[in-house]
């Protein structure tokens, strides 16, 4: 399952990231923020109705915002 399909509030673990599908700087930024294999993650808020883009993620003690296109590159499993 990719992160964009994860139900809000459900904790999950990242099992893989398709770095090749992301722009170089975006990949760097995501990695620096701790989005990487093995990290525990949850979707806590979703953006405006309709597309529900962007997503707010809980990652450790941080909240980060990403878009659905990024979430689609992140493979997760329920934790």
């Amino acid at each position: 399952m990719t992160l964009d399909a994860l139900e809000s509030g459900k904790p999950a673990r990242i099992t893989g990231v398709d770095w090749a599908s992301l722009a170089e700087d975006e990949g760097k930024r995501l990695k620096a923020l701790g989005v990487d294999e093995g990290a525990e993650i949850a979707v806590i808020h979703r953006g405006v109705f309709g597309t529900r883009d962007p997503l707010a993620l809980r990652l450790g003690n941080m909240t980060i915002a990403i878009r659905r296109v990024h979430a689609k590159a992140i493979e997760v499993e329920a934790a």
Binding site: K28, L30, H45, P54, A56
Partner: protein, 615 residues
């Protein structure tokens, strides 16, 4: 004598670095640019216990030395000593958010690997305690091998200890440091986790307030309503709250003007001081209260952590015109002034995204337009109420702001499909924790903005006003002839007027927009000076520019003037900054061209519609 010592604050974004910088240096800060790049260099003076002054640098927040933005590259190069023209800092003050150690310790390891003399400020320890964390600084110090000082920058807690540690740090350079550390990111992340766990004595399961607050503020339905409500309140406040202060300033200028008239003999010098300097510069300085109120709201939104939420809420909308939520922050800053707004685009990593944001930033209604709007609205829009707490004047002001935003969005859409065509950009950003903004940080921020405005009033606006007064006052009119008709300025206005007459502009307006290219608010001082020099009616001359506009302009003409200022590229400093940020004249030229075209069309459309409606 040895050279002046330097220290640098380094840390992740949102580590409370700037608050710590303010607490350590106070209001005496020097803000400039790093040589050759458009990244802001903030420096201040820190005094050690021995009395020795140290230059303290506030380096841009950074997640990693593997830079993903120009800001991060500057931090990396300065800290490593490879930035030309910058001395390598003698001491590094590594700022960590106590409540987010696991994340902040990752970058911390990269910094410590350099082996430079380093002191760790375990910052915002009060917020960590609020989140239910009890920390052990000694354990962290042991693990990192450098002194760790718990600090609460905003309450000045731990500052004396930190200063002591900075004074002592230089003797503790650890040349062997780099061999102790892991190198790959996953390894760093793992050791960050271990160090963070070892430093946390206890952790209660108390819920952080972010979740609850964000549930409301980021709610897809309520969130945008709150955001727009807030923005509406801001613009009402800018208009309503500032009035008493502006009146007081205006009264003060009047008293000085009267004093000059009474003491000096009649003649050129007296005219120059009263009609030129005081009428011109004075009419601009009275808008200082409004600018301060606007910046107050922007600074509060930034310091509280709400600005990032606003970016989150706006991302979808910005995406629809090919931008991202990140552009929202520079664009919102542009409501105060396009210059800091354009400079804030540096945080946008995508180059086409950034260029588009720079090109549309001047469409956001900056505070320099406020004097023009305020004077014209006060003159021609009745002071009636259209609902509880909603005045018609405030509503018109709001509409002008909305016109700028809608214009900007439309232009962005066109640009992203033509000149800045390219792949859709992304949006990745940290949403910082909520904090109560501290008065001292707000005051320092407001002081810096007010100072920039007053310096502009004292230089660009002063010079433009004097030049205009000279053009207006010479050659002197024959008896029976109007001074404006006789002057050089009249001749310039006559040249421009044929182009501007179709959109409803009178000669005074055609004249006023010329010096307004130096700075928009000069339009007000230009009108004030023009009417002061030209007034045949002594009573009208004494009433000030608002009354003169009310008496002399028709409603369609006044509305056309407002519409012109929504779009016109009238500030040389903005054009200069755009040139610097885009490294050439091409994009500023594109910007100026499209803005003048839009201004003429908007003024025209407004005038023609207003006339046909019989206003």
């Amino acid at each position: 004598m040895s050279r002046k010592r330097t220290a640098a604050l380094v840390g992740n974004p949102n580590s409370g670095k700037s608050a710590l910088f303010n607490a350590l240096t106070g209001a005496r800060q020097k803000i400039a640019n790093y040589a050759g790049v458009t990244v802001e260099r903030k420096a201040g003076r820190l005094v050690l216990p021995s009395g020795e002054p140290v230059e303290l640098l506030d380096l841009p927040g950074s997640y990693s030395f593997d830079a993903a933005s120009p800001d991060e590259a500057v931090t990396r190069d300065v800290v490593k000593g490879t930035f030309e023209g910058e001395a390598v800092p003698d001491v590094i003050i590594l700022v960590l958010d106590a409540a987010n150690l696991e994340q902040h310790l990752v970058f911390a390891q990269e910094v410590l690997e350099l082996g430079r003399p380093t002191v760790v400020a375990l910052n915002m320890i009060d917020l960590a305690e609020r989140d239910g964390l009890t920390l052990d600084p000694a354990a962290l110090s042991q693990a990192l091998g450098v002194p760790v000082i718990p600090t609460v920058a905003v309450r000045r807690k731990g500052l004396a200890e930190l200063t002591d540690a900075i004074a002592e740090a230089e003797t503790h350079a650890d040349e062997e440091a780099h061999t102790r550390w892991h190198v790959t990111l996953p390894e760093r992340r793992l050791s960050a986790k271990h160090m963070a766990r070892a430093a946390i004595l206890s952790k209660s399961t108390r819920h952080t307030i972010e979740n609850g607050v964000d549930r409301v503020l980021l709610n897809p339905w309520i969130g945008p309503v709150i955001l727009f409500g807030l923005l509406f309140v801001v613009f009402q406040a800018v208009f309503a709250w500032a009035t008493p202060f502006a009146d007081a300033l205006e009264g003060g200028v009047g008293v000085i003007s009267q004093g000059v008239s009474d003491t000096l003999p009649e003649g050129l010098l007296r005219d120059f001081l009263t009609e030129g300097v005081l009428a011109g510069v004075g009419s601009v300085v009275v808008f200082l209260p409004q600018i301060i109120i606007l910046f107050f709201f922007i600074l509060v939104m930034e310091a509280s952590g709400y600005m990032a939420r606003a970016a989150f809420l706006m991302d979808r909308l910005m995406a629809s015109v090919g931008l991202s939520g990140r552009s929202f922050i520079p664009l919102l800053s542009s409501f105060a002034c396009a210059i800091p707004g354009i400079m804030a685009t540096r945080s946008i990593s995508d180059p086409k995204d950034r260029l588009t944001t720079i090109l549309i930033a001047p469409l956001m209604t900056c505070s320099a337009r406020l004097p023009v709007y305020a004077v014209v609205i006060a003159a021609v829009i009745p002071q009636t109420s259209v609902g509880p707490g909603v005045g018609l004047q405030g509503l018109v002001l709001f509409a002008l702001y909305v016109a700028g935003i809608v214009g900007a969005m439309a232009v962005a859409l066109v640009l992203r499909r033509t000149v800045t065509k390219g792949a859709a950009s992304g949006f990745i950003m940290e949403l910082p924790r909520y904090q109560l903004p501290r008065l001292k940080d707000l005051l320092i921020g407001l002081w810096q903005r007010a100072w920039v405005f007053l310096r502009r009033a004292g230089t660009i606006i002063f010079v433009a006003t004097i030049a205009l007064w000279v053009l207006l006052s010479f050659p002197k009119a024959e008896p029976g002839e109007s001074q404006l008709d006789a002057s050089f300025a009249g001749a310039i206005a006559d040249t421009l007027h044929p182009v501007l007459a179709p959109v409803g502009f009178n000669r005074e307006m055609s004249l006023a927009i010329v010096p307004a290219i130096a700075a928009r608010e000069v339009a007000v001082s230009a009108l004030a000076t023009t009417y002061a020099v030209d007034a045949e009616d002594e009573e009208l001359a004494a009433q000030g520019v608002t009354a003169q506009i009310a008496a002399l302009w028709s409603l369609p003409t006044a509305l056309a003037f407002l519409a012109w200022f929504v779009f016109a590229p009238q500030c040389l400093s903005t054009i200069a900054v755009a040139r610097r940020e885009t490294n050439g004249w091409k994009w500023p030229a594109v910007m100026v061209g499209y803005l003048f075209a839009l201004a003429w069309l908007a003024a025209g459309a407004t005038y023609w519609i207003a006339v046909s409606l019989g206003l």
